[in-house]
Amino acid sequence: MRARAQARVREDRVRRAVRGLKGADAAASVRAEPVTLACHLDSVETVNGRQIVLRGWAEDIGRGEVWLHIGSSAAPIRLNPIISVREDVSAHLRKEGHHPETDRHGFAATATLSGALGPTVHISLVAGPWTAVSAALPIAPQEIPVAAFLHLAVDIARRTGGSMLANLAQILNALSLDPPPPPKVADVRRFGPAAAAPRASIIIPFYGNAFFLIDQLEAQRRAPLDVEWILVSDDPGLTPVLLDQLTRRAATIERPTTLVALGSNGGYAHANNIGAAHAAGQYLLLMNSDVLCDDFGFLDRGVAHLQSHAGVGCVGFSLQFEDGTVQHDGVSFQRVPWLEQLWAGEHLGKGLPVRPDAPSPVDVDAVTGALMLLRRADFASGPVLDPGYHFGDFEDADLCLRVAEQGQSIALLRETGLWHLERQSLRLLADQDGRRAMTTVNCLRFNEKWGAVLDRRTAAERPS
């Protein structure tokens, strides 16, 4: 309570300081007369119109609290900037007659906006009784996609010095990257024969490119008759391409096939959830477009397993890389050193030759969402995947933990002739740094949600 009250006092002080600088209020109400803060913004970017990314410098910014004032009607925002050494700024300030006490002037900061951005902003620095406020800084913010922001975040985190991951977490924590609302369905098109009480619905989201559509359609020829395909275009720019290819191949589409075109990019979880809402099958097979199969025996075996094992809530399948090595053979939750001992799903045996004598089926902590079989009835009252994660990462682990919390187990069926040509669309979303940033932000959320559960599990499994 006390800390909150102190923060309110400081916030009020910053408000009055800015007003004082504008001459709109009596500076007497400020305990110390505000002085002008030498400050410059190199760039201002926004994400989803709600988050702001600032880069620039301010004299001796490391000496106190930093606040951002975006307009007279919005509350000032406390920043938690990453500060860097800028000797060039020190030289500039001295030339201008200032007397900087340090070389720590550079900063990068992110924040969730508390209101509409005006044409100018102020930066304030509060150190003890002393407050410095910048002149009005004109801005022309550039809106960037989340993926670009994550890339930017990694760039800032790396260039700032110190622990890259700690810096990155600091940036990401300053943002509330809320899940986007579910996108609207813009169009639904049906191809092939009509679906009559299908046994299973195969849900395949598409984002970025349609390269594997031809593979999925060709595979239909080898599929059971009582299966329907729900293709979800999570990319309005891609929808015409998918539609064109489906129309051109309409005469050869041999199974009920529905294209659900979303009005905007809603992300992997929303795409699957909307696909599930359009499904009529008793079973849902979540499948990435880059999963290829020689035949659909795996689906029959998966359905049979769910039918005969009421205690199993989710069935996954072993998958191979293009070179025949293990892409997926179950997931184990572990604290991983490359994410500073956060909990993450560790793919077992990934990249190693397949063990021909491995037993099947087996219980595992989790399975990949790239190919995952579920009972549709189990998700009648809620979404299949949590849309709070970004870009198809951690949603499957999250789902498996939800299933486990309901008292059901996760089964892995070991199969041959199933390949996952992994992360084709993620590759389109961002480069390696961007992907690392996505993993980090998703992992932080996953730990916030499930860390205590996994700790409890580990403690319960530990021999007394």
Binding site: D215, R222, R248, L292, E322, D323, L421
Partner: protein, 415 residues
């Protein structure tokens, strides 16, 4: 029985080995009792010459030119399968084939096999040419950077040749193509080497029958008269190069080898190049060939392309045929022609060349890609240390056997 031979080109418009093999098959089928063939060849709109997808080549009702819809050169499938099916239906309605025999798949796509089969409910046969299913580099199985022969394809190695494409795309490409090939009732490979490469790539060996390409009836007639005495005035040993002048066929290697020869050998040597399409090659390549000819210490003559009906006479006019290709080849028609004429062959020791030319019997092998080794063989020939007079293959008998093998695959009774 109605047989539709579908080829990637008409040899009169695009004189490649595959096109010639397809057309030879058509010609032989025309002369076979009980067979009613039609030849359908992909063509450019300019060759169609009117506003339609099809035309008759030189007004012949059984030779159809076809402007195929757009084709995906990576996937080796049609980019417009709906239009492809419309075209296929039109051809099927008009000719009612019992068998559709595809020669190659470029320009129309491997998925055309399934389209024709579904629509015509007919037997489908595919003759493989090149390695285009296996290799994205012009189907040559040659590395993109070094132009060295590639022995085995894999997604990772293909990605190394084409870094802009992830390995996964190469895997998916192969996976799809192998499944699409299931729609062919029979696969033919003109060489065991080509078959083995496709078996290594994942096609069951028992699905591929090795059947040599046919040589045209006109060639049978051309070599029938007894050989006239040579009227050559020159006493030089004459080497002949027949084929396309491009990077893979090895003409620069041959010119380089001649530069390695001692002056007394090159003074007794003559090279004749019956080479086509030099003008279509990159400037740099054209300059290499032209400079190689200009700088040669031996007599070198560039005759350009030749008419097919002349090939027997031209081949009899050389002492040795040289096939210096730096890629694997499949079953080069020029080798078949030289074997029929009885001209010895100096060939690279790889792939279809090594298979078709028996070292020391039909000719000599040299180390593929090595001008020094080729120079040594040429020196041995010119100095008289090596002499070969292969017995000509009876091309009529051989063609009869090859045709029967085709008819058996078509299901013609009593063959």
């Amino acid at each position: 029985m109605k047989v539709m031979v579908v080829a990637h080109g008409h040899p009169a418009l695009s004189p490649g080995g595959g096109e010639r093999a397809a057309y030879s098959l058509f010609e032989h089928l025309k002369g076979t009792e009980g067979i009613d063939p039609v030849f359908v060849a992909r063509a450019d709109p300019a060759d169609i010459a009117h506003d339609a997808w099809f035309s008759s080549f030189r007004g012949k009702p059984d030779e159809i030119l076809w402007e195929t819809p757009a084709y995906d050169w990576f996937r080796r499938t049609s980019e417009k399968p709906d239009i492809l099916r419309l075209h296929a239906q039109a051809l099927i309605d008009r000719f009612q084939p019992d068998v559709v025999h595809f020669h190659h798949y470029i320009f129309f796509g491997v998925d055309a096999i399934g389209a024709f089969r579904d629509l015509a409910r007919c037997r489908t046969v595919l003759t493989l040419h090149e390695y285009a299913l296996i290799c994205h580099h012009d189907g040559q199985m040659v590395k993109t950077r070094t132009f060295r022969p590639c022995h085995v394809s894999s997604p990772a190695e293909c990605h190394a040749c084409f870094p802009e494409r992830p390995a996964a795309q190469f895997f998916a490409r192969g996976h799809l193509l192998r499944h699409l090939l299931d729609r062919a009732d029979a696969l033919i490979s003109p060489s065991a080497f080509l078959r083995d490469r496709h078996v290594a790539w994942g096609i069951p060996q028992d699905r591929i029958t090795v059947i040599e390409n046919l040589l045209p009836p006109a060639f049978e007639r051309a070599i029938a008269p007894p050989q006239a005495a040579s009227d050559r005035a020159s006493t030089r040993v004459r080497l002949g190069f027949f084929g396309t002048l491009n990077r893979y066929k090895g003409a620069p290697l041959l010119l380089d080898a001649i530069r390695h020869l001692p002056p007394e050998i090159s003074a007794r040597l003559e090279l004749v190049l019956f080479g086509a399409k030099l003008e279509d090659q990159p400037d740099e390549f054209q300059q290499i060939v032209k400079k190689g000819i200009a700088d040669s210490t031996a007599k070198v003559s560039l005759f350009g392309p030749y008419e097919n009906r002349e090939v027997a006479r031209l081949m009899r006019g050389v002492d040795w045929l040289v096939v210096p290709s730096t890629w694997w080849e499949n079953s080069p028609v020029v080798i078949q022609e030289a074997l029929a004429v009885g001209t010895p062959i100096l060939a690279s020791n790889i792939g279809g060349m090594a298979e078709k030319v028996r070292d020391g019997i039909d000719g000599l092998h040299f180390l593929a890609g090595s001008p020094a080794d080729l120079a040594e063989r040429i020196e041995a020939i010119v100095s008289g240390r090596v002499t070969l007079q292969p017995t000509p293959v009876n091309v009529v008998d051989r063609n009869r056997q090859v045709l029967d093998a085709h008819l058996r695959l078509y299901g013609v009774p009593g063959v």
